[in-house]
Protein backbone atom coordinates (compact mmCIF):
# COMPACT_ATOMS: atom_id res chain seq x y z
CA UNK A 1 0.00 0.00 0.00
CA UNK A 2 1.24 3.53 -0.75
CA UNK A 3 2.07 6.09 1.86
CA UNK A 4 -1.21 7.66 2.92
CA UNK A 5 -1.77 11.07 1.41
CA UNK A 6 -3.98 12.17 4.30
CA UNK A 7 -3.63 11.92 8.03
CA UNK A 8 -6.27 12.16 10.69
CA UNK A 9 -5.94 15.33 12.70
CA UNK A 10 -7.27 13.99 15.98
CA UNK A 11 -5.68 10.59 15.45
CA UNK A 12 -8.84 8.88 16.62
CA UNK A 13 -8.99 5.12 16.52
CA UNK A 14 -9.98 3.35 13.34
CA UNK A 15 -12.99 1.41 14.46
CA UNK A 16 -14.63 0.25 11.25
CA UNK A 17 -13.34 -2.63 9.14
CA UNK A 18 -14.27 -3.00 5.48
CA UNK A 19 -13.25 -5.37 2.74
CA UNK A 20 -11.94 -3.57 -0.33
CA UNK A 21 -11.29 -5.90 -3.29
CA UNK A 22 -10.68 -8.69 -0.80
CA UNK A 23 -8.25 -6.66 1.34
CA UNK A 24 -9.06 -5.43 4.82
CA UNK A 25 -9.16 -1.64 5.21
CA UNK A 26 -9.81 0.08 8.52
CA UNK A 27 -11.59 3.42 8.74
CA UNK A 28 -12.92 5.98 11.17
CA UNK A 29 -16.65 5.82 11.87
CA UNK A 30 -17.04 9.37 10.49
CA UNK A 31 -15.41 8.60 7.13
CA UNK A 32 -17.04 8.36 3.77
CA UNK A 33 -15.80 5.42 1.71
CA UNK A 34 -13.77 7.83 -0.47
CA UNK A 35 -12.18 9.49 2.58
CA UNK A 36 -11.37 6.11 4.11
CA UNK A 37 -9.64 4.89 0.93
CA UNK A 38 -7.62 8.11 0.60
CA UNK A 39 -6.59 7.85 4.25
CA UNK A 40 -5.52 4.26 3.59
CA UNK A 41 -3.17 5.42 0.82
CA UNK A 42 -5.45 4.43 -2.06
CA UNK A 43 -5.61 7.39 -4.47
CA UNK A 44 -7.24 5.84 -7.47
CA UNK A 45 -9.67 2.97 -7.98
CA UNK A 46 -11.12 3.42 -11.43
CA UNK A 47 -10.15 4.36 -14.94
CA UNK A 48 -11.79 6.90 -17.20
CA UNK A 49 -13.76 4.88 -19.74
CA UNK A 50 -12.81 6.52 -23.08
CA UNK A 51 -9.13 7.19 -22.25
CA UNK A 52 -8.23 4.43 -19.81
CA UNK A 53 -6.48 6.98 -17.57
CA UNK A 54 -6.55 6.34 -13.82
CA UNK A 55 -8.74 8.82 -11.97
CA UNK A 56 -9.17 9.64 -8.32
CA UNK A 57 -11.81 11.40 -6.25
CA UNK A 58 -12.03 15.03 -7.33
CA UNK A 59 -14.98 16.94 -5.85
CA UNK A 60 -15.88 14.83 -2.76
CA UNK A 61 -19.43 16.19 -2.99
CA UNK A 62 -21.20 13.90 -5.42
CA UNK A 63 -20.86 16.02 -8.55
CA UNK A 64 -17.97 14.60 -10.62
CA UNK A 65 -18.60 10.83 -10.42
CA UNK A 66 -14.86 10.10 -10.46
CA UNK A 67 -15.05 7.98 -7.28
CA UNK A 68 -17.82 5.51 -8.15
CA UNK A 69 -17.48 1.92 -6.99
CA UNK A 70 -19.62 -1.05 -5.92
CA UNK A 71 -20.85 -1.08 -2.32
CA UNK A 72 -22.36 -4.31 -0.98
CA UNK A 73 -23.25 -5.35 -4.51
CA UNK A 74 -24.81 -2.03 -5.55
CA UNK A 75 -22.78 -0.59 -8.47
CA UNK A 76 -22.12 3.05 -9.38
CA UNK A 77 -22.24 4.36 -5.82
CA UNK A 78 -20.43 7.64 -5.24
CA UNK A 79 -17.79 6.74 -2.65
CA UNK A 80 -17.72 10.34 -1.38
CA UNK A 81 -21.43 10.13 -0.47
CA UNK A 82 -21.45 6.74 1.27
CA UNK A 83 -20.56 6.58 4.97
CA UNK A 84 -18.42 3.62 6.00
CA UNK A 85 -20.04 0.78 7.90
CA UNK A 86 -18.46 -2.15 9.69
CA UNK A 87 -18.37 -5.22 7.46
CA UNK A 88 -18.96 -3.28 4.26
CA UNK A 89 -17.83 -5.01 1.07
CA UNK A 90 -16.34 -2.72 -1.58
CA UNK A 91 -15.46 -3.71 -5.10
CA UNK A 92 -13.49 -1.39 -7.40
CA UNK A 93 -11.68 -1.64 -10.69
CA UNK A 94 -8.50 -1.03 -8.72
CA UNK A 95 -6.48 -3.99 -9.92
CA UNK A 96 -6.28 -2.17 -13.27
CA UNK A 97 -5.26 1.12 -11.72
CA UNK A 98 -2.34 0.36 -9.39
CA UNK A 99 0.85 0.86 -11.37
Amino acid sequence: MNQAGFRRLDGSGASVTMTVDGQTVTADTRDTVAGALLAAGIDTWRRNVPSGQPRGPFCMMGVCFECVLTVDGVPERRACMVPVRDGMTIRTGRRDTTP
Binding site: L9, N48, P54
Partner: protein, 471 residues
Protein backbone atom coordinates in the same frame (compact mmCIF):
# COMPACT_ATOMS: atom_id res chain seq x y z
CA UNK B 1 -51.56 -2.20 -6.02
CA UNK B 2 -50.48 0.62 -3.75
CA UNK B 3 -51.31 4.24 -4.48
CA UNK B 4 -48.69 6.70 -5.55
CA UNK B 5 -46.89 8.24 -2.59
CA UNK B 6 -47.84 11.88 -2.28
CA UNK B 7 -46.67 14.82 -0.17
CA UNK B 8 -47.62 18.47 0.15
CA UNK B 9 -44.00 19.31 -0.57
CA UNK B 10 -40.84 17.64 -1.80
CA UNK B 11 -37.62 19.41 -0.89
CA UNK B 12 -34.48 18.49 -2.83
CA UNK B 13 -31.31 19.23 -0.89
CA UNK B 14 -30.69 19.20 2.87
CA UNK B 15 -28.34 22.16 3.07
CA UNK B 16 -29.28 25.37 4.90
CA UNK B 17 -31.99 26.41 2.40
CA UNK B 18 -33.61 22.98 2.16
CA UNK B 19 -33.48 22.26 5.89
CA UNK B 20 -34.94 25.66 6.76
CA UNK B 21 -37.71 25.34 4.15
CA UNK B 22 -38.64 21.82 5.23
CA UNK B 23 -38.63 22.82 8.90
CA UNK B 24 -40.97 25.79 8.34
CA UNK B 25 -43.34 23.73 6.18
CA UNK B 26 -43.53 20.82 8.61
CA UNK B 27 -43.92 23.15 11.60
CA UNK B 28 -47.19 24.35 10.03
CA UNK B 29 -48.43 20.82 9.44
CA UNK B 30 -47.48 20.28 5.82
CA UNK B 31 -46.35 16.79 4.82
CA UNK B 32 -42.78 17.02 3.60
CA UNK B 33 -40.35 14.66 1.89
CA UNK B 34 -36.66 15.57 1.97
CA UNK B 35 -34.39 14.08 -0.71
CA UNK B 36 -30.62 14.39 -0.41
CA UNK B 37 -27.71 12.56 -1.98
CA UNK B 38 -25.79 12.50 1.29
CA UNK B 39 -26.41 10.15 4.18
CA UNK B 40 -27.35 12.90 6.63
CA UNK B 41 -28.48 16.54 6.70
CA UNK B 42 -26.19 19.59 6.47
CA UNK B 43 -25.33 19.93 2.82
CA UNK B 44 -21.74 20.74 1.93
CA UNK B 45 -21.45 23.89 4.04
CA UNK B 46 -22.47 22.04 7.20
CA UNK B 47 -20.92 18.71 6.27
CA UNK B 48 -20.14 16.76 9.41
CA UNK B 49 -22.24 19.11 11.53
CA UNK B 50 -24.59 16.33 12.71
CA UNK B 51 -21.83 15.47 15.18
CA UNK B 52 -19.62 18.52 14.85
CA UNK B 53 -16.96 17.60 17.42
CA UNK B 54 -15.57 19.78 20.20
CA UNK B 55 -13.00 21.39 17.89
CA UNK B 56 -15.46 22.38 15.11
CA UNK B 57 -15.83 26.05 15.98
CA UNK B 58 -12.08 26.55 16.34
CA UNK B 59 -11.35 24.80 13.04
CA UNK B 60 -14.17 25.98 10.81
CA UNK B 61 -15.23 29.27 12.33
CA UNK B 62 -18.26 30.52 14.20
CA UNK B 63 -20.52 30.49 11.15
CA UNK B 64 -20.17 26.69 10.92
CA UNK B 65 -21.93 26.39 14.27
CA UNK B 66 -25.22 27.53 12.70
CA UNK B 67 -25.24 24.05 11.18
CA UNK B 68 -25.84 21.94 14.30
CA UNK B 69 -28.71 24.26 15.33
CA UNK B 70 -30.37 24.04 11.91
CA UNK B 71 -29.96 20.28 11.83
CA UNK B 72 -31.47 19.93 15.30
CA UNK B 73 -34.50 22.08 14.36
CA UNK B 74 -34.96 20.02 11.20
CA UNK B 75 -34.72 16.80 13.21
CA UNK B 76 -37.44 17.90 15.64
CA UNK B 77 -40.05 18.04 12.86
CA UNK B 78 -41.87 15.10 11.42
CA UNK B 79 -40.29 15.01 7.96
CA UNK B 80 -40.04 11.97 5.72
CA UNK B 81 -36.51 11.56 4.37
CA UNK B 82 -34.70 9.77 1.56
CA UNK B 83 -30.95 9.82 2.21
CA UNK B 84 -28.31 8.75 -0.31
CA UNK B 85 -31.02 9.47 -2.85
CA UNK B 86 -31.24 11.60 -5.97
CA UNK B 87 -34.18 13.26 -7.67
CA UNK B 88 -33.39 11.77 -11.07
CA UNK B 89 -36.35 13.21 -12.95
CA UNK B 90 -39.14 15.67 -12.44
CA UNK B 91 -42.16 16.72 -14.40
CA UNK B 92 -44.82 19.29 -14.05
CA UNK B 93 -47.62 18.60 -11.74
CA UNK B 94 -45.32 17.63 -9.87
CA UNK B 95 -44.03 14.13 -10.10
CA UNK B 96 -40.52 13.51 -8.85
CA UNK B 97 -38.61 10.30 -9.51
CA UNK B 98 -36.49 9.61 -6.46
CA UNK B 99 -33.74 7.00 -6.78
CA UNK B 100 -32.51 5.49 -3.52
CA UNK B 101 -29.79 2.84 -3.53
CA UNK B 102 -32.40 0.08 -3.38
CA UNK B 103 -35.45 1.48 -5.17
CA UNK B 104 -36.98 4.07 -7.45
CA UNK B 105 -40.16 5.90 -6.45
CA UNK B 106 -42.39 8.27 -8.39
CA UNK B 107 -43.67 10.78 -5.87
CA UNK B 108 -46.43 13.34 -6.35
CA UNK B 109 -46.34 16.75 -4.67
CA UNK B 110 -47.99 20.16 -4.95
CA UNK B 111 -44.93 22.10 -3.88
CA UNK B 112 -41.42 21.41 -5.15
CA UNK B 113 -38.55 23.21 -3.47
CA UNK B 114 -35.23 22.85 -5.24
CA UNK B 115 -32.44 23.65 -2.81
CA UNK B 116 -29.66 21.96 -4.74
CA UNK B 117 -26.90 24.30 -3.61
CA UNK B 118 -23.70 25.16 -5.36
CA UNK B 119 -20.60 23.37 -6.54
CA UNK B 120 -17.11 24.41 -7.51
CA UNK B 121 -16.47 25.76 -10.97
CA UNK B 122 -13.85 23.47 -12.50
CA UNK B 123 -10.42 24.85 -13.28
CA UNK B 124 -9.30 22.87 -16.31
CA UNK B 125 -5.52 23.00 -16.65
CA UNK B 126 -3.11 20.40 -18.04
CA UNK B 127 -2.75 17.63 -15.46
CA UNK B 128 -6.01 18.34 -13.63
CA UNK B 129 -7.39 14.84 -14.18
CA UNK B 130 -4.48 13.17 -12.36
CA UNK B 131 -5.27 11.31 -9.11
CA UNK B 132 -4.05 13.59 -6.31
CA UNK B 133 -5.56 16.69 -7.88
CA UNK B 134 -8.80 17.66 -6.17
CA UNK B 135 -10.83 20.78 -5.56
CA UNK B 136 -10.20 23.08 -2.60
CA UNK B 137 -13.75 22.33 -1.52
CA UNK B 138 -12.95 18.60 -1.51
CA UNK B 139 -10.04 19.25 0.83
CA UNK B 140 -12.29 21.26 3.11
CA UNK B 141 -15.02 18.60 3.06
CA UNK B 142 -12.59 15.87 4.13
CA UNK B 143 -11.58 17.99 7.10
CA UNK B 144 -15.20 18.69 8.04
CA UNK B 145 -16.31 15.10 7.56
CA UNK B 146 -13.59 13.25 9.45
CA UNK B 147 -10.64 15.59 10.15
CA UNK B 148 -8.51 14.36 7.26
CA UNK B 149 -5.68 16.72 6.29
CA UNK B 150 -2.92 16.21 3.71
CA UNK B 151 0.16 14.43 5.01
CA UNK B 152 2.25 15.15 1.92
CA UNK B 153 3.43 18.50 0.48
CA UNK B 154 0.41 20.27 -1.04
CA UNK B 155 -0.53 23.48 -2.78
CA UNK B 156 -3.80 25.43 -2.92
CA UNK B 157 -4.36 27.33 -6.17
CA UNK B 158 -7.06 29.29 -7.89
CA UNK B 159 -9.45 32.18 -7.54
CA UNK B 160 -12.20 32.82 -5.01
CA UNK B 161 -12.69 33.42 -1.30
CA UNK B 162 -12.60 29.70 -0.54
CA UNK B 163 -8.83 29.38 -1.06
CA UNK B 164 -8.25 31.98 1.67
CA UNK B 165 -10.80 30.34 3.96
CA UNK B 166 -9.19 26.94 3.41
CA UNK B 167 -5.73 28.37 4.14
CA UNK B 168 -7.09 29.77 7.41
CA UNK B 169 -8.78 26.49 8.33
CA UNK B 170 -5.65 24.50 7.51
CA UNK B 171 -3.62 26.94 9.62
CA UNK B 172 -6.01 26.18 12.51
CA UNK B 173 -5.29 22.50 11.92
CA UNK B 174 -1.54 22.96 11.71
CA UNK B 175 -1.41 21.95 8.04
CA UNK B 176 0.73 24.28 5.99
CA UNK B 177 0.63 24.39 2.18
CA UNK B 178 3.83 24.81 0.18
CA UNK B 179 2.13 27.83 -1.32
CA UNK B 180 -1.21 29.47 -1.83
CA UNK B 181 -1.36 30.50 -5.48
CA UNK B 182 -3.88 33.30 -5.89
CA UNK B 183 -5.04 33.89 -9.46
CA UNK B 184 -6.57 37.05 -10.74
CA UNK B 185 -5.66 40.22 -12.49
CA UNK B 186 -4.37 43.32 -10.76
CA UNK B 187 -7.37 45.39 -11.90
CA UNK B 188 -9.95 43.25 -10.10
CA UNK B 189 -9.66 45.25 -6.90
CA UNK B 190 -10.21 48.53 -8.77
CA UNK B 191 -13.31 47.07 -10.46
CA UNK B 192 -14.65 45.90 -7.10
CA UNK B 193 -14.00 49.14 -5.21
CA UNK B 194 -17.38 50.75 -6.00
CA UNK B 195 -18.97 47.88 -4.01
CA UNK B 196 -16.49 48.11 -1.13
CA UNK B 197 -18.63 50.28 1.10
CA UNK B 198 -21.55 47.86 1.32
CA UNK B 199 -19.08 44.99 1.75
CA UNK B 200 -17.42 46.66 4.73
CA UNK B 201 -20.83 46.92 6.39
CA UNK B 202 -21.52 43.21 5.88
CA UNK B 203 -20.71 40.27 8.15
CA UNK B 204 -18.13 39.06 5.68
CA UNK B 205 -15.66 41.92 6.14
CA UNK B 206 -14.24 40.98 9.54
CA UNK B 207 -13.89 37.34 8.54
CA UNK B 208 -12.17 38.28 5.28
CA UNK B 209 -9.52 40.32 7.11
CA UNK B 210 -8.92 37.43 9.50
CA UNK B 211 -8.52 34.88 6.70
CA UNK B 212 -6.21 37.08 4.63
CA UNK B 213 -3.99 37.97 7.59
CA UNK B 214 -3.63 34.35 8.65
CA UNK B 215 -2.96 33.17 5.11
CA UNK B 216 -0.23 35.76 4.60
CA UNK B 217 1.33 35.02 7.98
CA UNK B 218 1.31 31.24 7.73
CA UNK B 219 1.71 30.51 4.03
CA UNK B 220 3.85 31.72 1.11
CA UNK B 221 1.36 33.52 -1.13
CA UNK B 222 2.12 33.58 -4.87
CA UNK B 223 0.15 36.10 -6.92
CA UNK B 224 -0.17 34.51 -10.32
CA UNK B 225 -1.54 35.38 -13.74
CA UNK B 226 -2.25 31.78 -14.71
CA UNK B 227 -1.63 28.16 -13.84
CA UNK B 228 0.49 26.60 -16.58
CA UNK B 229 0.25 22.90 -15.73
CA UNK B 230 0.49 20.24 -13.08
CA UNK B 231 3.54 18.04 -13.61
CA UNK B 232 3.42 14.48 -12.45
CA UNK B 233 4.44 10.86 -12.58
CA UNK B 234 0.88 9.56 -12.40
CA UNK B 235 0.49 11.71 -9.28
CA UNK B 236 1.37 15.41 -9.03
CA UNK B 237 5.01 16.36 -8.49
CA UNK B 238 4.79 20.13 -9.06
CA UNK B 239 2.46 22.96 -9.98
CA UNK B 240 3.83 25.39 -12.56
CA UNK B 241 2.43 28.91 -12.40
CA UNK B 242 3.17 32.17 -14.17
CA UNK B 243 3.44 35.08 -11.77
CA UNK B 244 1.95 38.51 -12.39
CA UNK B 245 5.39 39.70 -13.48
CA UNK B 246 5.59 36.91 -16.07
CA UNK B 247 8.02 34.72 -14.16
CA UNK B 248 7.51 30.96 -14.18
CA UNK B 249 7.53 29.28 -10.78
CA UNK B 250 7.51 25.59 -9.95
CA UNK B 251 6.01 24.58 -6.63
CA UNK B 252 6.80 21.01 -5.63
CA UNK B 253 3.65 19.28 -4.33
CA UNK B 254 2.12 15.80 -4.23
CA UNK B 255 -1.41 17.16 -3.74
CA UNK B 256 -2.97 20.03 -5.64
CA UNK B 257 -6.25 21.63 -4.57
CA UNK B 258 -7.79 23.77 -7.31
CA UNK B 259 -10.57 26.30 -7.04
CA UNK B 260 -12.31 28.70 -9.41
CA UNK B 261 -15.31 29.98 -7.50
CA UNK B 262 -18.67 28.30 -6.99
CA UNK B 263 -21.80 28.28 -9.09
CA UNK B 264 -25.43 27.19 -8.66
CA UNK B 265 -26.27 23.58 -9.41
CA UNK B 266 -29.13 24.45 -11.73
CA UNK B 267 -29.43 21.04 -13.41
CA UNK B 268 -32.81 20.17 -11.90
CA UNK B 269 -34.35 23.52 -12.81
CA UNK B 270 -32.90 23.08 -16.27
CA UNK B 271 -34.33 19.56 -16.54
CA UNK B 272 -37.79 20.96 -15.71
CA UNK B 273 -37.44 23.31 -18.66
CA UNK B 274 -37.41 26.42 -16.47
CA UNK B 275 -35.97 29.67 -17.67
CA UNK B 276 -32.34 30.24 -16.73
CA UNK B 277 -30.51 33.52 -17.04
CA UNK B 278 -26.82 33.98 -17.62
CA UNK B 279 -25.32 36.21 -14.94
CA UNK B 280 -22.43 38.13 -16.47
CA UNK B 281 -20.84 39.10 -13.16
CA UNK B 282 -21.08 35.71 -11.53
CA UNK B 283 -20.40 33.82 -14.75
CA UNK B 284 -23.11 31.31 -14.10
CA UNK B 285 -26.60 30.21 -15.10
CA UNK B 286 -29.23 31.15 -12.57
CA UNK B 287 -32.87 30.07 -12.57
CA UNK B 288 -35.36 32.90 -12.71
CA UNK B 289 -36.85 33.52 -9.28
CA UNK B 290 -38.90 36.29 -7.69
CA UNK B 291 -38.73 37.82 -4.20
CA UNK B 292 -40.49 34.73 -2.75
CA UNK B 293 -37.99 32.39 -4.46
CA UNK B 294 -40.79 31.29 -6.82
CA UNK B 295 -39.54 29.62 -9.98
CA UNK B 296 -41.35 29.84 -13.29
CA UNK B 297 -43.74 26.93 -12.58
CA UNK B 298 -46.76 27.02 -10.29
CA UNK B 299 -45.66 25.56 -6.98
CA UNK B 300 -41.95 25.56 -7.82
CA UNK B 301 -39.46 27.32 -5.55
CA UNK B 302 -35.71 27.58 -6.01
CA UNK B 303 -34.00 28.52 -2.78
CA UNK B 304 -30.45 28.93 -1.53
CA UNK B 305 -27.26 28.90 -3.55
CA UNK B 306 -28.98 26.87 -6.28
CA UNK B 307 -30.79 30.08 -7.20
CA UNK B 308 -27.61 32.18 -7.15
CA UNK B 309 -24.64 31.92 -4.82
CA UNK B 310 -25.31 34.24 -1.88
CA UNK B 311 -23.80 32.17 0.90
CA UNK B 312 -25.12 29.89 3.63
CA UNK B 313 -26.86 32.44 5.82
CA UNK B 314 -28.74 34.10 2.97
CA UNK B 315 -29.61 30.58 1.77
CA UNK B 316 -31.19 29.67 5.09
CA UNK B 317 -33.42 32.75 4.99
CA UNK B 318 -34.34 32.24 1.35
CA UNK B 319 -35.50 28.73 2.32
CA UNK B 320 -37.73 30.13 5.06
CA UNK B 321 -39.11 32.79 2.71
CA UNK B 322 -39.91 30.16 0.08
CA UNK B 323 -41.67 28.03 2.68
CA UNK B 324 -43.80 30.94 3.88
CA UNK B 325 -45.14 31.53 0.38
CA UNK B 326 -45.60 27.80 -0.20
CA UNK B 327 -47.73 27.66 2.97
CA UNK B 328 -50.08 30.24 1.45
CA UNK B 329 -50.35 28.10 -1.68
CA UNK B 330 -51.13 25.07 0.49
CA UNK B 331 -53.86 27.06 2.26
CA UNK B 332 -52.17 26.74 5.65
CA UNK B 333 -51.56 30.44 6.29
CA UNK B 334 -52.99 33.64 4.88
CA UNK B 335 -51.09 36.08 2.74
CA UNK B 336 -51.11 38.55 5.63
CA UNK B 337 -49.61 35.94 7.95
CA UNK B 338 -46.95 35.21 5.37
CA UNK B 339 -46.01 38.87 5.12
CA UNK B 340 -45.69 39.25 8.88
CA UNK B 341 -43.78 36.00 9.33
CA UNK B 342 -41.40 36.58 6.47
CA UNK B 343 -40.62 40.27 7.07
CA UNK B 344 -37.64 39.68 9.41
CA UNK B 345 -36.33 36.91 7.15
CA UNK B 346 -36.47 39.19 4.13
CA UNK B 347 -34.53 41.83 6.09
CA UNK B 348 -31.91 39.28 7.17
CA UNK B 349 -31.54 37.92 3.65
CA UNK B 350 -31.03 41.45 2.38
CA UNK B 351 -28.39 42.16 4.99
CA UNK B 352 -26.43 39.09 3.92
CA UNK B 353 -26.68 39.98 0.25
CA UNK B 354 -25.07 43.38 0.69
CA UNK B 355 -21.50 42.10 0.65
CA UNK B 356 -21.87 39.91 -2.41
CA UNK B 357 -21.28 42.36 -5.31
CA UNK B 358 -17.82 43.20 -3.91
CA UNK B 359 -16.92 39.52 -3.49
CA UNK B 360 -18.34 38.55 -6.89
CA UNK B 361 -16.43 41.31 -8.69
CA UNK B 362 -13.16 40.86 -6.81
CA UNK B 363 -13.10 37.09 -7.26
CA UNK B 364 -14.21 36.79 -10.87
CA UNK B 365 -13.42 33.32 -12.24
CA UNK B 366 -10.25 33.04 -14.26
CA UNK B 367 -10.05 32.25 -17.97
CA UNK B 368 -9.71 28.60 -18.99
CA UNK B 369 -6.30 27.31 -20.02
CA UNK B 370 -5.46 27.88 -23.69
CA UNK B 371 -3.55 24.60 -23.85
CA UNK B 372 -5.15 22.56 -26.68
CA UNK B 373 -4.60 19.24 -24.92
CA UNK B 374 -6.36 20.06 -21.67
CA UNK B 375 -9.42 17.85 -21.17
CA UNK B 376 -12.48 20.09 -20.80
CA UNK B 377 -14.89 17.20 -20.31
CA UNK B 378 -13.58 14.83 -17.65
CA UNK B 379 -16.21 12.11 -18.14
CA UNK B 380 -15.80 11.70 -21.89
CA UNK B 381 -12.21 12.98 -22.01
CA UNK B 382 -12.83 15.65 -24.64
CA UNK B 383 -9.87 18.02 -25.10
CA UNK B 384 -10.06 21.70 -25.92
CA UNK B 385 -8.60 21.04 -29.38
CA UNK B 386 -11.18 18.32 -30.10
CA UNK B 387 -13.96 20.68 -29.02
CA UNK B 388 -12.48 23.42 -31.22
CA UNK B 389 -12.34 21.09 -34.25
CA UNK B 390 -15.99 20.12 -33.87
CA UNK B 391 -17.09 23.72 -33.32
CA UNK B 392 -15.04 24.97 -36.28
CA UNK B 393 -16.69 22.38 -38.54
CA UNK B 394 -20.13 23.20 -37.17
CA UNK B 395 -19.69 26.90 -37.77
CA UNK B 396 -18.40 26.13 -41.26
CA UNK B 397 -21.72 24.50 -42.16
CA UNK B 398 -23.76 27.24 -40.52
CA UNK B 399 -24.75 25.71 -37.17
CA UNK B 400 -26.14 28.72 -35.21
CA UNK B 401 -24.54 29.77 -31.88
CA UNK B 402 -27.50 28.48 -29.88
CA UNK B 403 -27.03 24.95 -31.24
CA UNK B 404 -23.25 24.67 -30.82
CA UNK B 405 -23.35 23.12 -27.35
CA UNK B 406 -25.82 20.39 -28.31
CA UNK B 407 -23.97 19.84 -31.59
CA UNK B 408 -20.70 19.38 -29.72
CA UNK B 409 -22.44 17.01 -27.33
CA UNK B 410 -23.84 14.89 -30.16
CA UNK B 411 -20.55 14.70 -32.08
CA UNK B 412 -17.94 14.48 -29.32
CA UNK B 413 -20.03 13.31 -26.31
CA UNK B 414 -18.78 16.38 -24.41
CA UNK B 415 -21.30 16.82 -21.58
CA UNK B 416 -22.88 13.40 -22.00
CA UNK B 417 -21.17 11.64 -19.09
CA UNK B 418 -22.53 10.93 -15.62
CA UNK B 419 -21.75 14.41 -14.25
CA UNK B 420 -24.32 15.79 -16.72
CA UNK B 421 -22.08 18.65 -17.91
CA UNK B 422 -21.56 20.01 -14.41
CA UNK B 423 -17.81 19.75 -14.99
CA UNK B 424 -17.44 20.71 -18.65
CA UNK B 425 -20.37 23.14 -18.91
CA UNK B 426 -18.72 26.13 -17.20
CA UNK B 427 -15.37 25.58 -18.97
CA UNK B 428 -17.15 25.25 -22.28
CA UNK B 429 -19.06 28.48 -21.73
CA UNK B 430 -15.80 30.35 -21.12
CA UNK B 431 -14.14 28.59 -24.05
CA UNK B 432 -16.91 29.59 -26.50
CA UNK B 433 -16.81 33.14 -25.20
CA UNK B 434 -13.04 33.70 -25.33
CA UNK B 435 -12.34 31.77 -28.53
CA UNK B 436 -15.46 32.30 -30.63
CA UNK B 437 -17.01 35.41 -29.08
CA UNK B 438 -20.16 33.34 -28.57
CA UNK B 439 -21.50 34.47 -25.21
CA UNK B 440 -22.84 31.87 -22.80
CA UNK B 441 -26.21 33.60 -23.04
CA UNK B 442 -26.26 32.92 -26.79
CA UNK B 443 -24.84 29.42 -26.55
CA UNK B 444 -27.31 28.27 -23.91
CA UNK B 445 -26.90 25.73 -21.15
CA UNK B 446 -26.23 22.09 -22.03
CA UNK B 447 -29.45 20.08 -21.85
CA UNK B 448 -30.09 17.37 -19.29
CA UNK B 449 -31.36 13.90 -19.88
CA UNK B 450 -33.11 11.37 -17.68
CA UNK B 451 -31.90 10.13 -15.22
CA UNK B 452 -30.14 13.09 -13.63
CA UNK B 453 -27.91 10.69 -11.68
CA UNK B 454 -26.94 7.11 -12.55
CA UNK B 455 -29.32 4.51 -11.19
CA UNK B 456 -29.82 0.80 -11.56
CA UNK B 457 -31.60 -0.21 -14.73
CA UNK B 458 -33.60 -2.83 -12.82
CA UNK B 459 -35.09 -0.16 -10.58
CA UNK B 460 -36.99 1.28 -13.57
CA UNK B 461 -39.32 -1.67 -13.03
CA UNK B 462 -40.36 0.00 -9.73
CA UNK B 463 -42.15 2.76 -11.62
CA UNK B 464 -45.87 2.59 -12.38
CA UNK B 465 -46.62 1.40 -15.91
CA UNK B 466 -49.55 3.68 -16.62
CA UNK B 467 -47.55 6.91 -16.62
CA UNK B 468 -45.61 8.08 -19.62
CA UNK B 469 -41.81 8.13 -19.40
CA UNK B 470 -40.48 10.99 -17.34
CA UNK B 471 -38.37 13.52 -19.23
Amino acid sequence: MTGQPSFDAVVVGAGPAGMAAATELAARGASVLMVDRQASPGGQIYRGAVEPGHDAERLFGKSYMRGPALIAAFGRQSIETRWNASAVGVRDGFEVDVASPDRLERIACRILILATGAYERPLAIPGWTMPGVMTAGAAQLMAKQSRLVPSEPFVIAGAGPLIWLLAWQYAQMGARPEALVSLGDSKALRRALPHAFSFLGSDYAADAVKYLRTAYRSTPVVRARRLVRIEGDGRPTALIAETRTGRSVSIPARRVFLHNGVLPDANMTNALGCRLEWDEIRHSWQPTTDAWQRGDRDGLYVAGDGAGVDGAIAAEFSGRIAASDALVRLGRISQAERDTTAAPWIAERGRHLSGRPFIDTLFAPIEPSDDPDVPICRCENVSASRAADVIDDARGVGVPPGALVSHLKAISRCGMGPCQARMCGPSLARFLDTRYVVSAADAGKPSQRYPAAPMQLASLADLPLDGEAAP
